[in-house]
Symmetry: C2
Subunit: 240 residues, 2 copies
């Protein structure tokens, strides 16, 4: 990682690239203080203005936050979560350079509430299987998901899921080899105490709430999802 002084690429840009890389690879830990301008001028052997230009670029990219009189701080990493017609959790995150993971925190059967029954197109009170899971990226929790399935159509889904640990695979056992996203709604609220605990957020941080319905090729609803993302760690990208 050496600077190339002869090149057509500006010095400040090369420095910004190096520092950006270091932030991505956690050399500078999120939330912690970033090296001061004076430290960086020493390290790269350039003028303070050159370093400032590089840091300004990082700030503009949202990688760091500069506070007059206090210092520069590394922003929390933001994970890019793509939402489209064929959203799958793990497949999704693998597109970035993050290691995805699930942790099942509950599998129950209960009668459908108004909202759930309406979303799934079943009668209120019909039994639904609720799979609750925490989604992780690089070992950090980023989402709490409530996934509802009509139990009449998928009997024993909870047990099956606990064995294969994949919704897509579990559904294959019922002959569902393909499903698509029918509707998606995005909201935001302040994290509940439960969110705060599960997502290891600080108090009073915002959460992104995504409500969606998946349908089979015949247009029949097969699942209703309410996913709550840690707002400070996730960015949704909507696929055209």
């Amino acid at each position: 990682m050496e600077l190339n002084r002869g090149s057509a690429i500006p010095l400040w840009y090369q420095i910004a690239e190096i520092l950006g890389q270091e932030i991505s690879s956690d050399v500078h830990r999120a939330g912690r203080q970033f090296p001061t301008e004076s430290l960086l001028t020493g390290r790269f052997g350039v003028n303070r203005h050159t370093v400032r230009r590089a840091v300004a670029s990082l700030a503009d990219q949202g990688l760091v936050r500069v506070e007059k009189g206090r210092g520069t701080f590394v922003e929390d990493h933001v994970i890019d979560y793509r939402i489209g017609k064929r959203t799958r959790f793990s497949a999704n995150l693998l597109l970035g350079d993050v290691e995805p993971g699930h942790r099942l925190i509950g599998a129950t059967e209960l009668p459908a509430t108004e909202t759930v029954s309406a979303a799934l197109g079943i009668a209120r009170g019909d039994p639904v299987t609720l799979l609750e899971a925490v989604g992780e990226a690089n070992g950090h929790p980023i989402s709490v998901a409530a996934n509802y399935f009509p139990s009449r159509r998928f009997p024993g889904l909870a047990d099956l899921y606990e064995r294969v640990l994949s919704i897509t695979k579990a559904l294959e056992s019922y002959g569902i080899d393909d499903y698509t996203r029918q509707s998606t709604k995005v909201m935001t609220t302040i994290a509940t105490p439960e969110d705060t605990q599960l997502l290891k957020q600080r108090k009073n941080m915002p959460v992104l709430v995504v409500e969606s319905v998946d349908v089979d090729p015949d247009g029949l609803a097969i699942s209703y999802h309410v996913v709550r993302f840690a707002g400070e760690r996730v960015q949704l990208t909507l696929e055209p």
Copy 2:
């Protein structure tokens, strides 16, 4: 609005429908206390359980919020904002029964920052026109938008906009008769003091941040938008 006791439709459901209608038509104002169970049993001449069933349905639909020992409260109305390939602000809101409006709060020309130039596919420092506006629905502010346009391609856009008060119309003068959404990103943060003031939010409420790029039929970027929605008043619905 009378109850039909003989009908196949349950009493509690009829009551929920009536009360839901009243909430939509602002008979019960948002944020204010909803009639108590005892008042409603009196009004409808039914058992308290029947009223509770109806109110539970309203709560499940998100129309009211029930607090033990305090009472039931009408939730803030949520505006459904559709996002798709052809998102237009006013056209969008007119689909609901809300009266849309704009208020321009600033029109300036400035050099493109890193993010803006990258989004618009121009060189950093190239002049861009920034139109800042507050979006309103039914007279209440729901969004603060920063709209960036490449000034070289649209010279005099700011003045033109102030005359026609419509981005779509202003762009027509430059021969742009159609544009589509190229990319959309959704994030959330806590409102800044400026957000709080412009959106008339309470302090520390979340905002939904939508970043998007519009392109002309040739795929050339014509605008970059950063819109900040009052989180408690807006729900985004993503069109498939």
